[in-house]
Subunit: 121 residues, 2 copies
């Protein structure tokens, strides 16, 4: 695809469903996805890849089995592959996810929070 | 590395040199880098990889051979592999770069703007 300007804030206006990542860009075999999240997600891990979270607006908590980290707007974390984690947010939080194409949002778990992949906006 | 919170604004306070990307995180074989840029960079391309620019603060212009795009805070672009481009910024601009480890900032060009790789902050 020809290079073009992507406005992250404008992209967030295009959807309202939570825990349902939308692809806004691809780089090699990686995708940039946006998601609105609120409440508690499910414990899961991704056996084959690291996963990056960047908080665009709001506050995100990620629980690990041995600690909890808190992320505010402008903060990021790389969750190493194979590490169990559970994102949660008291109020709606806007996040960017960066990970390889084909990564399922719930990782090794398949439940009602599992989202369709490759939904582009 | 164990997952930890990375504050992008705080990382930008740790350096002042321009056109000299600093690694703040790694995800699989990719790196997240921060750079302060001002003035005109050099025309170059990366033959083997796409490259992502996210503007964290300020305004960035990227010239292509067939068009010019303008990016403000909160906007991003993926430059496809092999596509010649020249970033420039009138005032100092803070950007995040995402690309595979080992990518040289000046791509196929080696000049006084070529930076050392893998400088972590």
């Amino acid at each position: 695809m020809a290079p073009h300007t992507i406005n992250i804030t404008e992209k967030f206006k295009l959807f309202s469903d939570q825990w349902s990542p939308k692809v806004i860009a691809e780089m090699n075999d990686y995708q940039f996805k946006l998601a609105k999240v609120q409440g508690e997600f499910v414990w899961h891990s991704h056996d084959d890849t690291d996963e990056t979270f960047i908080v665009i607006d709001g506050e995100l908590t990620i629980e690990f089995r041995d600690k909890t980290i808190h992320l505010k707007k402008g903060e990021m974390v790389v969750v190493p592959k194979g590490v169990e984690h559970k994102p949660k947010a008291e109020s709606e939080c806007q996040i960017m996810l960066i990970e390889p194409k084909g990564v399922v949002n719930t990782g090794d778990v398949d439940n009602e929070l599992t989202s369709e992949n490759n939904v582009c906006i």
